[in-house]
């Protein structure tokens, strides 16, 4: 299986982690970025999906908090 990826909103820094999904918006853990609708926007600042950047940055110790 391809490793899960992380995407950062370039408008505010909101993080979407494929491993965690976004259950409160109906995207269960494991939801791939490609399966997030193109018209989805950052839940914090409204930045469109296309203005997220994939990042390969490790979590700080103790994160993510489940």
């Amino acid at each position: 299986m391809e490793p899960f990826k992380r995407f950062l909103c370039l408008g505010c820094g909101f993080l979407y982690d494929e491993a965690l999904g976004l259950p409160e918006q109906g995207f269960p853990p494991g939801t791939r970025w490609a399966d997030i609708p193109d018209d989805w926007v950052c839940p914090d600042c409204g930045t469109p999906k296309r203005l997220f950047e994939m990042v390969e940055i490790e979590y700080a110790p103790g994160q993510p908090v489940a």
Binding site: R6, G13, F14, L15, I57, E58, Y59
Partner: protein, 227 residues
Amino acid sequence: MQSFVLRAADRGYGRYVSTGPTSSYISGHPESVLTRHSSFNFHEYQEGRAGFGRIRVFGEEIFSGLGCGYNMHPHHNFIICAFVLRGCLTHINTLGKVDEVKAGDYYVFSAGSGGKHAELNIAGEDLRVIYIWFLPGKLLLPPSYRRTHFDAAASRNRLARLVGAPDGVLPIDQDVRVSRLVTDVAGTHVYRPRSGAHGTLCLRHRRRCPLRGRVSRPPGQHGAVGH
């Protein structure tokens, strides 16, 4: 080695007013105006460069009008630095800090696992500030806020490290440094990146002479941002 030159006039430009559709985004008395020159792609401006190294946002902004600024809004992860060139910035954050950041002052706000801030020009005299956003070294770090002052007189004609290890005044959770040089004499100053893998972004700013007809040469300013 790759290099590029970005001229001031080639940056993205945005003008936002505190009334109408942007009234919840932009604070301030009616008809307050916030202008932003973006060196890299940001919000509506997407025709330029994506960033430089760990830098994603580089904005030169002017807040004009009583209370003009950004209303309280959320961030994660980005390390946001503000360098006040003129006026007074009132910074309020959800770490419990209400700060007055005046000309020469600067702060490093690491949003980490989540924080909000408001950026306001309470006094109304035009506020001029440079914002730089860095990607963090780690995701969801504990949020933090640190601020200090750059003493232009004490650091005159000397390249001073403002941000970044090992000898920067303010630490930062990223492999970057920010330095500043204020000089009024011709000369050579050497900035050495830490390694061949580190790049250097140099911002050159020539201060306009504040007094018309003054004969003396206006001082120039240079800033260097390494990563």
